[in-house]
């Protein structure tokens, strides 16, 4: 139906409620409600407004629960227990031996490592050690951070005091003095 037809229909002032076909149908439409639904609804809502307790009926929307279900309802949360593992005696003995063996192995290995480093150091000549130390550049900040601030200061002061005294001494005399 076009808009023009709708307008024409309305302009002719045809009372649409008076449509013959629709008038012939039953206006009830076939819908029903449960018996006493509106009375129950008034009571239910009144209870809700006055907060007089549960307003839900025993059967709600067709679903039902066992008798006194809500009264007897208790939370049943299972308690989670720690699991105790029982080892057999032979397992305990074996585990002890294994632990002792592993500890011994670690001790022997650390001794071997220490002695090997010591033997390496002893093989170096004194000259090589002095040269190595002379070539190292120590940072004052690094030494201070390591907690050697005072010692470093003392060394510096000693150098300042000794340097003028050693000015006139030859290098050969100094080597002789150090080597005793």
């Amino acid at each position: 139906m076009s808009i023009k037809q709708v307008k024409e229909s309305m302009e002719t002032n045809k009372e649409i409620e008076a449509d013959e076909f629709l008038r012939s149908l039953n206006r009830q439409g076939g819908f029903e409600v449960p018996v006493d639904y509106f009375e129950a609804n008034t009571k239910r809502f009144s209870a809700f407004l006055r907060k007089e307790g549960p307003e839900l009926p025993e059967s709600f929307g067709g679903f039902q629960v066992p008798e006194n279900y809500f009264e007897n309802l208790r939370p049943t949360i299972p308690v989670k227990k720690g699991r105790i593992v029982h080892f057999r005696p032979w397992f305990n003995v074996a585990a002890s031996f294994l632990l002792i063996g592993f500890t011994g192995f670690l001790l022997i290995r650390s001794n071997q490592t220490g002695s090997s480093k010591q033997s390496e150091l002893s093989s170096l000549s004194q000259e090589e050690i002095i040269n190595h130390l002379e070539n190292q550049e120590f940072s004052a900040d690094l030494l201070c951070e390591a907690g050697w601030c005072n010692e470093f200061q003392m060394l510096e002061n000693e150098d300042k005091e000794l340097n003028p005294l050693l000015d006139g001494v030859s290098e050969e005399d100094l080597t002789e003095l150090i080597n005793g």
Partner: protein, 187 residues
């Protein structure tokens, strides 16, 4: 039971100033619940759904009645809330079922056959299916006019649509329904 404009005002006055608003509200419920229920039922079709929407509607009315300014008639305000609640319910149902509104309305029509609370004859069933085949706005207008006998001016207040548009909607709806029913009955 119809209330006049004066009776509505008097009831509102008692609700706002009286010392027992719960009692006044229960009175209001008694006056309006049947009409509101049938209005909702024709939108959502199933009784269980209509019951849920009716509860929500009156809870909403209870919450908002104190702020109602009386700019329209009380019953049109109540019908507006009921319409919004019912449409919102259908929208949620449609989303939950992940189907279109047309499909949902078709399903509602089919569900009538097995419904405990529908005992219409074949013509009445076909009529309901025809109404459910209409677009949402036409369906609302047709139900309010045909079943609830509201005036166009009252429907205008409820839906916020002009009287002219409402007349056109109703006219189109009634023609579509007539065609649907005649075609189905003859098939």
């Amino acid at each position: 039971m119809e209330l006049s404009a004066e009776q509505e005002k008097e009831l509102l006055n008692r609700f706002n100033t009286g010392d027992d608003p719960e009692r006044v509200f229960t009175e209001l419920l008694g006056h309006f619940q049947k009409r509101v229920y049938w209005h909702i039922r024709r939108i959502v079709i199933n009784h269980e759904d209509a019951d849920d929407v009716l509860q929500n509607t009156f809870i909403r009315i209870w919450e908002k009645l104190g702020s109602f300014r009386g700019e329209s008639r009380l019953y049109t305000w109540i019908f507006r809330i009921a319409t919004n609640e019912a449409l919102s319910f259908l929208q949620k149902k449609q989303n939950r079922m992940s189907i279109s509104m047309d499909e949902l309305q078709e399903q509602l029509g089919d569900s009538l056959k097995a419904s405990t609370y529908f005992n219409g004859n074949r013509t009445e069933l076909i009529l309901q299916q025809a109404i459910l085949s209409l677009p949402e706005k036409q369906r609302l207008v047709f139900n309010m006019k045909y079943y609830e006998g509201l005036k166009y001016e009252e429907i205008e207040e409820i839906l916020g649509t002009s009287v002219g548009a409402l007349k056109a909607s109703y006219h189109l709806a009634s023609k579509k329904i007539e065609e649907f029913v005649k075609r189905t009955l003859n098939s």
